[in-house]
Assembly symmetry: C2
Homo-oligomer: 234 residues x 2
């Protein structure tokens, strides 16, 4: 009897993680410099191989920590990439994860012992394998999410100014927004709470800080869900 399992192609399984960060001015991606085998060192996502005893999520977190020192970051699975020739040396299927972080909160936690560096989205270096495609898909996902909900808040510090928020949305959508319209429309969502405090040093007038009204944000998150749930009699 033929052993069905033994007759199948075996693959390496890699985990690659995309870390988006916003520093208040520019949307960035964290990259490391890696060389595999005899290939020259190239900038790449935080990647490595699955070990026998690991679940996928565990492996992604372990690899991120090994290459950057970062831990306790919520990594969300984006997609699996498995084109037959994506890694020329050995058939490898990569499971891609992504995370959004606020650069200021994490920058000093990135270990100096690795060549990890932030790159602006519009100024990425040549990348290993199909890592450019992975990043493009992650940006699409980020745009989709930011279009559905004000997801960008996750990338901002706890208190932020409207110009910072606008810069973030301009970076995500790679466009520019009219200043007065952007401000008026975002304030009209009622999701922002104005603080009695101004940002210093950026302009003579200064810009007020805002915070997200988390309670309202949560309740508005699933607009259509609420719409259906409200009509439930169960």
């Amino acid at each position: 009897m033929i052993n069905l399992y033994d007759a199948q192609t075996k693959c390496l399984v890699a985990l690659d993680s995309i870390i988006f960060g916003f520093d208040g001015e520019v949307l960035k991606i964290l990259l490391v410099k890696r060389g595999i085998e005899e290939t020259p060192k190239t900038w790449s996502l935080m990647g490595g191989w699955l070990r026998p005893d690991e679940d996928l999520d565990q492996a992604a977190s372990r690899i991120l920590k090994e290459l950057t020192g970062l831990e306790n970051i919520y990594l969300e699975q984006l997609s699996a990439f498995g084109a037959p020739d994506r890694d020329k040396i050995s058939r490898t299927v990569s499971i891609v994860y992504f995370a959004l972080i606020n650069v200021v909160d994490y920058d000093d936690k990135i270990s100096d012992s690795y060549e990890a560096r932030w790159f602006a989205l519009d100024d990425l270096p040549p990348l290993l394998f199909d890592h450019g495609d992975m990043i493009r898909m992650a940006i699409e996902k980020l745009r989709y999410k930011a279009a559905q909900h004000p997801i960008g808040f996750e990338l901002l510090p706890e208190k932020f100014t409207i110009p910072q928020l606008q810069k973030l949305y301009e970076a995500i959508f790679n466009t520019t927004f009219d200043k007065r319209n952007f401000s008026r429309k975002f304030l009209s969502t009622g999701l922002l709470k104005k603080l009695n405090e101004k940002q210093r040093g950026h302009s003579k007038k200064g810009a007020y800080y805002y915070q997200v009204d988390l309670e309202k944000y949560q309740s508005e998150f699933n607009t259509f869900l609420n719409f259906t749930r409200v009509s439930s009699n169960s």
Copy 2:
């Protein structure tokens, strides 16, 4: 020099597809009966192994066709599952896909040569490996999507009645909705066009058929995106 590639664990890569179907009354999942090696035959998702020359999407489509006869169905990647012990015989990472179809449109295309059968969501048989977890995650995704947009429309025939729409939403959210509220709230979205035609045989009075206003549906799909885009000056 150690060959880094050879030192890594190799895995089998499986593709498993979840096909949701709605027949106007009940939300169902298509399953096939499979036995691998000496295991007794168990109901399972449409699953099989990745071949050396295939991309992941190609493999999922090929397997779906081999096991059910169905082709040209848009399969969306859901997630990769890779717990170390999910398949006891060999370490296998599964890439899971899902699709939404209207049962009526496809039922006669499902080949009789395979043991493929529709099961109501609330009456699933015991399933192979972690296929139950995969289905639970797919239902969560379906609920999330149906909460964001009226995604359920994809599962309905081209023209449908409000009671059919309500049954679909009740099946997705596993709840019941008040009839008058559901109807009033859905009609108030302005996404439905009433046809001058009634469904026969279901009740004395008969229920009017509706169609989705596709143009309006598209333009409302990305509500928040529109909100930001409108304010763009680029």
